[in-house]
């Protein structure tokens, strides 16, 4: 009888520990998966920011845009929901899940000019937008001076 009771209690104990272990394992996996997606988004965002800072001009491109830098031209476009960076002959996938890329124009001196770009990144089923606006030099200078105050 006591052996039977011992076996039942041991079984309960093993089941209890196992269920906690699997739950913790699942939580850790989810946590890592979310952070991997967020890291991929942050890397893509950092790449875009760096290249945009170096760009002299931004122009529309089929399903994307072109950055014209001093000695280089980079095309960013969406192909089958992937954000691709094309530099010279090299194509690099910057991000896997892009929902939309939207370019807005405005009229300036009777000419249609690109005013903003919105890229919707899909991170863990959540849409995170990334906006690109024309940089106002004076505002930049002001903000830089504010940082050092």
């Amino acid at each position: 009888m006591s052996v039977l009771v011992g076996m039942v209690i041991s079984g309960l104990m093993i089941g209890f520990v196992y269920s906690i272990y699997t739950n913790l394992n699942q939580m850790t996996y989810n946590y890592q998966s979310i952070h991997t997606s967020i890291n991929a988004f942050n890397i893509a965002k950092a790449d875009l920011k760096r290249e945009i800072e170096l760009a002299d001009k931004i122009a529309p491109y089929p399903n994307g845009f072109v950055l014209e830098q001093k000695n280089n031209t980079i095309q960013y476009y969406v192909k089958e929901s992937q954000l691709i960076k094309k530099e010279k002959a090299n194509e690099l996938i910057i991000f896997e899940n892009i929902e939309t890329i939207k370019l807005s124009n405005k009229t300036e001196n009777n000419k249609e000019v690109l005013s903003s770009i919105r890229i919707d990144f899909l991170v863990e089923k959540q849409v995170i937008p990334f906006y690109i606006y024309a940089i106002n030099d004076l505002q930049n200078k002001l903000n830089l001076s504010l940082i050092h105050e």
């Binding site: 011992g6 209690i9 104990m13 913790l24 995170i128 906006y131």
Partner: protein, 113 residues
């Protein structure tokens, strides 16, 4: 060969209790770790800030504002920069679960003048 005594009901109960305490402490620590992490809402709100700043500059309506969304709240505070009427200091506070998770400041020109 050394013979081990069979567990009694009391021994087993003590073992289960100790295991339960250890596991619940671990789960609690993990729960706090997850809780301390910035939620996704804060990231989405941060991504919306350039748009808000641009809208503010274009509309030239330099007012305090509060944007309430399901996952986050953004507070926009506009004040004169050190009494200078030509400059505005814009502060954006992102509030998630009643906590300020991120704050950002920008200086913009007063284009109304």
């Amino acid at each position: 060969m050394v013979k081990l005594k069979a567990f009694t009901l009391f021994d087993s109960l003590i073992a289960v209790t100790i295991t339960a305490i250890i596991m619940s402490t671990l789960s609690l620590s993990y729960g706090y770790l997850i809780d301390s992490d910035k939620p996704m809402g804060s990231m989405v709100a941060q991504a919306e800030l350039p748009k808000l700043l641009n809208n503010l500059k274009e509309s030239k309506s330099y007012f305090n504002e509060s944007i309430d969304k399901e996952a986050y709240k953004i507070e926009q505070i506009v004040e004169q920069y050190k009494g200078n009427t030509k400059l505005f200091l814009v502060t954006f506070n992102i509030i998630v679960n009643s906590k300020i998770t991120y704050s950002e400041q920008h200086l913009i020109e007063n284009e109304e003048r």
